[in-house]
């Protein structure tokens, strides 16, 4: 039963990621695109953990952790760029 629920959840998260992609392409402002990217990486973590449950393997933990860290740093850098207009201060 866990198996089929995980498969269904994978589908739902996939649709959620498509919605983020739509917002990413649609804009209209730069801040919207940053928000879409931020949501996209959080959804990616969810999808990876679900995929790990699907394959019954704990190997995706490291991947998820690195995506979480790099995603956060990426969001911060993009926002800082928008606020200051410069990456290196």
């Amino acid at each position: 039963m866990i198996h089929s629920v995980v498969v269904a959840a994978l589908g739902v998260v996939g649709v959620a990621m498509l919605l983020c992609l739509w917002r990413l392409l649609r804009g209209p402002t730069v801040a919207d695109r940053i928000l879409a990217l931020d949501t996209l990486y959080i959804n990616t973590i969810a999808m990876l953990m679900l995929f790990g449950m699907y394959l019954r393997s704990a190997i995706f933990f490291e991947v998820a952790l690195i995506i979480a860290m790099l995603g956060f740093v990426g969001t911060v850098v993009l926002c800082k760029y928008l606020i200051r207009g410069d990456i290196v201060e």
Binding site: I2, V5, V6, A9, R26, I45, M49, T75, I83
Partner: protein, 121 residues
């Protein structure tokens, strides 16, 4: 015991997927940036938290040891999500000064409605 744990996993996965979906749905549906910011920053974080806890229980159920490391991602996400939300709000206001409300006049508490603007959905 393992039957109860299995139900816990199923419930957490369903709730988590629901919240992840609601967060992204809000992102796609709402019409204004500051409204959109509420969906993903709250719902998606809780959704991912639920799925990560489900993953911990699931791996414990499969006798792969108690992976407390997933808990680290949850804690990390709960610490970073408000910070990135705060920065994104600041970035949006820096890029578009119309969004920024007037500075507080004397003692705060007063509010003004956010500028309602129709800029596509």
């Amino acid at each position: 015991m393992s039957a109860i744990a299995a139900w816990v996993v199923v419930a957490l996965v369903v709730v988590g997927a629901f919240f992840v979906f609601v967060g992204s749905f809000g992102l796609a549906k709402l019409s204004e940036f500051l409204k959109r910011l509420h969906g993903p920053t709250k719902s998606s974080t809780l959704g991912v938290g639920c799925i990560l806890i489900a993953s911990i229980v699931h791996h414990a159920l499969l006798d792969q040891g108690l992976g407390l490391r997933e808990l680290l991602i949850t804690v990390f996400l709960f610490i970073t999500a408000p910070i990135s939300a705060h920065l994104m709000a600041k970035a949006a206001m820096a890029a578009d000064p119309v969004l920024r409300p007037k500075p507080p006049a004397g003692r705060g508490g007063a509010s003004e409605p956010a500028p309602e603007r129709d800029r596509g959905t």
